[in-house]
């Protein structure tokens, strides 16, 4: 990989250096031993800086972020705001027919689970670093990787939890 790949745009070669999580998940075929998984998940949890107070942002902006599949590719402008690519893998708003099935449906997420502080924290944390909750999850670490800002993640929390959000209709 080191020999055959080359940097292009913002996609630099440091990206192919595997971190511990990637190595463990590759070597275990995404089925790591339970003890090891617990320890590494705890490590990943330490990377999340949970903001204080209400984590429910603007769901209208959240929907835009969820629809946006740009960011971090060599065709994307470095530093330009990117999206979460959420619809690539998940169902969200019932109005959007073009959704993927790589991840579970998030339809009516807040309607089902409520929108109090615990669930807010869970959703924020999961989006920031999904590996803290499930070590070998296929979900990218959107906060940890610098893909999404704190504000963007809050807007996605809004998309999932705000009772007015289309997701919860």
């Amino acid at each position: 990989m080191q020999r055959d790949l080359h940097a292009r745009g913002q996609a630099t070669m440091d990206r192919v250096v595997q971190d511990g999580v990637q190595r463990v998940c590759t070597e275990s075929n995404d089925r790591p031993p339970a003890e090891l998984a617990k320890r590494l998940e705890a490590d990943q949890m330490k990377t999340i800086a949970f903001p204080q107070g209400n984590l429910i942002g603007d769901w209208k902006n959240g929907e835009r972020i969820a629809q946006d599949g740009r960011g971090l590719q060599w065709t994307d402008k470095p530093g330009a705001p990117g999206g979460g690519s959420c619809y690539n893998c998940h169902q969200l708003s019932p109005k959007e027919a073009s959704f993927g099935t790589i991840g579970p449906s998030l339809s009516r997420f807040g309607a089902i689970r409520g929108n109090g502080p615990e669930i807010q924290k869970y959703v924020y944390g999961k989006i920031f670093n999904a590996k803290a909750y499930n070590l070998c999850s296929q979900m990218p670490r959107l906060g940890y990787s610098g893909t999404l800002t704190e504000e963007q993640i809050k807007d996605l929390v809004g998309l999932l939890l705000d009772p007015a959000s289309p997701v919860n209709q």
Binding site: M1, R3, D4, L5, H6, A7, R8, A11, T12, M13, R15, V16, Q18, V21, Q22, C25, T26, N29, D30, L72, Q73, W74, T75, Y87, N88, C89, A97, S98, F99, G100, T101, I102, K131, C136, Q138, P140, R141, S145, G146, T147
Partner: protein, 242 residues
Amino acid sequence: MREIQRYRQMVSEDSPAELFEVEGEALWKKPQGPKQASLEKCDLGLGPGVLKGAYAQLPRYFKDADRVMDLETRLLHCMMALQGRSREEATQRVFGNADRPSEMESLSAYIATQSRGMKMAPGLSHPKEKEAYELGRALYFQRTGPWDFACTSCHGEESKRIRMQALPVLLKPEQARPVVASWPAYRISTSAFITLQWRMNDCYRQMRLPEPAFGSDTTVALIHFITVTGKGEPYRGPGNKR
């Protein structure tokens, strides 16, 4: 399911891919480079200039280059060896667009169509072919990059789709076979002819990784792994895709 098969049947008749095949034939015969030679003596594995069945037996090991090559890698080799072109010049524009296909795309269309009906039979016996298969397999599972993606992230689980695009699990012969039988292909939504080197390149881009070199061992290994997994399937291409 039947409707999409009917759609595919409809678009395969008078396929736009034929336009690229015609262009590819012209390029195959066109004298180019410092040596002002055509590609007509290019050996794709069955002897110089033999095109019938050539695509179906790729990728394979080539003694003169001492490595496994897929179609596009081999074409690059011939452009350099027969036409005297530099790697830099010949790879300046390997992927085209709706306005103008690349040479590689047109040539791929022309050569692939001449394997229609033949069973895909990539090289299996040479040690380097086995190595390429193992490397491709290892790469398929390697989680890396800022989004922790491996090929398996999208192509690892049954019946998944990204947005509305179905994702074949290329580890399974029954899912790899229709794939290897239909590439390269005309992609209707972008009016572009796409090849497997392009597909590997674009996957790496979407995986948020740096760019793999055209015709590198990495791309060839992945293509070889997928083709071997899908071997035996009668070639139906070049195909049409959404």
